[in-house]
Amino acid sequence: MHLLSIDWWFLLEKLVLIMVIISLSLVIAMYTTYAERKVAAWLQDRRGPNRAGPWGILQPLADGGKLFFKEEIIPLVSSKFLFILGPSLAMITALLTSAVIPWGTSLHLFGREMPLQIADVNIGILYIFGVVSLGVYGIMIGGWASNNKFSLLAAIRAASQMISYELAMGLALIAVLMLAGSLQMSVIVQNQIDHGWHVIYQPLGFVIFFICALAECNRTPFDLAEAENELNFGYHQEYSSMKLGFYLFAEYINMFISSAVMATLFFGGYDIPFVNEASWGISPNLLALIGFAVLMAKIFFFLFVFIWIRWTIPRFRYDQLMNLGWKGLIPLSLANMVLTAVVMLILKK
């Protein structure tokens, strides 16, 4: 009987990969909170967390445990379902993006080739865009369901900020797409291995993309959605316990994923710089793992820059934020796009 014509090995392989990548994202996000506190302490000439474990490395576990044991409060006059849906959506959309990022070349195990990418779809970049544009819902639904005017105001701020910066982000990406000639993430990485990293050709595009990524993650200087002195605490003011933890945690996962996207689109992904690793003649499995480690190093560098910026630059005012987005970044990225197209046309002839 042929009940279900499914390639079970394929399914199992992808399931394992998904589990590994999701747990990796969670662990890295956990230790980014630790890194944030340590870097902040370093920049401010303090010691930072140093009580839980050696050098305080168990601090994220202590923080998580504390959040789990806090009392869970759900406001009386709010929609309970939506109140819980908000942080869940924030978490889900943060984790979804990792599906199209190529984490390395393929592993050869048990006679099968196993690419280190969950889905090498034809529309890789657009998929990231789709998920990023859904990220607004977690914040908006949570802010509205809190039944608190400050939460609602913060949610609307966050949503309009994310929508505004998505435009400039998309326009900056079009120039990269023209260089790579494809939307497929693996092709974009391969193009960089063959012709050099995109950041060399698109420095302006990278800067615009980076600024927009800061805004999309609600990081300082764009963290108006959680401006303590104007809105108390922002859209998660009414949240307590692990639901608050989800919102805070989703921000760190977003940071990790957007660092991965930047490393993949502009800094060659898993490409090892300055060498031709294919000529080393070592086993492809080892090569894939080295590539993965190189990608991680690039990601950690970006995460450090994110934290560095947070503890260096003060917050924008809201009109400054909108001016920068609509009158600064969008025309700049349009010009960048047209310029790239013209140069490409001239060089081809």
Binding site: L3, L4, S5, L126, F129, G130, S133, M140, W144, I163
Partner: protein, 181 residues
Amino acid sequence: MSITLILFWFLSVLALFSAAMVVASKNPVYSVLWLILVFFAISGHYLLLNAQFLAIVNIIVYAGAIMVLFLFVIMLMNLNKSNEPKRNKWLNLAGVLAGGCLLLVLVAALKNAETKATLAETGTGNIGLIENLGKALFTDYVVPFEISSVLFLSAMVGAVVLGKKESSPDTAGQSGKSSEK
């Protein structure tokens, strides 16, 4: 039963159920959320037809942008049950009748469409992939494409003109100042 067929039935039931819930929900915020689910189910159908580009654009444009605006408006209007006007029973009946008529017209119009020639090929076919779609749009359909983009531009200009505050004679000085900024 192949996995495509299972997904097809799952997505169809999801789409129809969510569409019914859009109408049935009392709270407009829930209606919007159900509508988002409808868009997701439809995107799933596009994926089954191997039209990846359409699927993702459907999510980006409808679920990611237009529904966010819907949600904005509904959340800011603060619709409560108390200020909702009581509807006439006959008005409800008229609504059902009008909707039924629309359904009848649609079914009648599509009944004799060339279903056999254009039967959807699930899982195969690559017309929905971005290269083919782009080539078709910029070669065969370039004039309609450009005209529709001009239409969108005029809509944008219209929105800006409508959104601009008109300066009445007594406050002309103030608004003049703010527009100079």
